[in-house]
């Protein structure tokens, strides 16, 4: 009987040892997984850093170009005042204005992203009609689209109620989406901007039949410094921050922004803003 009990005890002890070993093994595996996650995180951070380092010279180049133009134009105006005719003076002064506006816009974008990353980005909501903002932006871009031989239309689908939003910031989102749509449209293309109510939200779509967004680019589209390069005729320019800012603005309103394919050709940028 004693031997029998002893045998049972040995078996129980072995089982306990096996369980302990299994627990220990599982913990070790968890630790290994944890280590793997840590390594993956470090690698992802390093990759992001490397990407930012790669794009930094490009960003500086984008800032330097208008600065050089301003400096060159000012230099000519100072050194050659007497030799320049009225038309040349006007060309140079106008160029200073255009280049300084573009510079200011880029600096503004960098500041916006910096505020968004630091959690200090704020919007100033006022109660008003988003239809007025859409109408204004459509009128602003119509001549630009015409020059690029692209048709731009903003058909009214339904009446939208007034609500609270930041009109200047929503203009900025629309500016970005419409100018991108024009940039990535080919001659003869068309852009349609619509707005409608969608379950407590207003849903705005900017739809083009241009070159579209490659599947591989879609996850990167709203990331810092990303520049799509999906057509040989379209030169990439800018800070690569426009869509990051658009996303930040929409999210600050409590909405969402995303891209879909516009079958059979082109892309559809959609954003929603809560009606409150």
């Amino acid at each position: 009987m004693q031997v029998y009990i002893l045998n049972i005890l040995v078996i129980v002890e072995s089982i306990l040892l096996l369980i302990t070993s299994l627990i220990l093994f599982s913990k070790t595996r968890n630790l290994t997984n944890l280590k793997k996650y840590e390594e993956a995180l470090i690698n992802a951070q390093a990759e992001q850093q490397a990407k930012e380092n790669d794009f930094f010279p490009m960003l500086v180049h984008e800032l330097r170009a208008p600065l050089s133009v301003i400096q060159g134009a000012a230099d000519l105006l100072i050194k050659s005042t007497e030799d320049l005719n009225a038309e040349q003076i006007h060309t140079l002064l106008n160029q200073i204005k255009i280049s300084s506006s573009s510079l200011l816009e880029m600096v503004g974008e960098i500041l916006d992203v910096s505020k968004m990353e630091g959690g200090k980005f704020q919007i100033n909501k006022t109660y008003g009609s988003i239809e007025d903002v859409l109408k204004e932006q459509c009128s602003y871009f119509e001549p630009v689209a015409k020059v690029r031989k692209v048709t731009l239309s903003c058909p009214k689908l339904e009446d939208l109620p007034s609500f609270s939003f930041d009109p200047e910031r929503i203009k900025q989102v629309l500016n970005n989406l419409i100018s991108n749509a024009i940039k990535f449209s080919l001659e003869g293309g068309s852009i349609v901007i619509t707005s409608k109510k969608d379950y407590g939200f207003v849903r705005i779509e900017v739809v083009d039949n241009g070159v579209g967004v490659a599947d591989k680019d879609k996850p990167l589209l709203f990331q810092k410094f990303f520049q799509a390069s999906n057509h040989k005729d379209i030169k990439e320019k800018g800070t690569g921050l426009g869509l990051v800012i658009a996303k930040g603005i929409v999210e600050a309103h409590g909405g969402k922004i995303w891209v879909e394919d516009n079958k059979p050709k082109g892309s559809k940028f959609i954003f929603t803003i809560p009606l409150r």
């Binding site: 330097r64 170009a65 133009v69 060159g72 134009a73 000519l76 050659s80 040349q88 255009i98 280049s99």
Partner: protein
Amino acid sequence: MPKKILFIEDDEGFFNIFSVPLKMKGYDIVHVSDGSLAVEKVISEKPDLVLLDIVLPGTSGLDVLKELREREETKLTKIVMLTNFGSDDNIARAMEYGASDYLMKYNIVPSELPSKIAGFLGETQESVVKVTES
């Protein structure tokens, strides 16, 4: 007869600040902003000198240069690269393809560009001014 310069540049700002002093010195400036139209324009305009940017829509400046050098009618045309991109690789390729020189936009004061161009064309500044006055 003023000397003709074909300026292949898509940035309106750079085109304006570099073309104004050249026009002031009497050069006839023809502007092309799309790389894919550049070769055709050089053939039809027969310029005395081509100012060529590298980053262009359509076809890159280096490809334009290569094609111009391969064509019988343009293989001897003076071509000066005027660009922002001064990487060793770009400079080496441009010189290998037969560029007359490689100028960096940031290093050139616009008012000094005409004297450089006059040098490439074997002119003195005075002779350029005389062309303007005639």
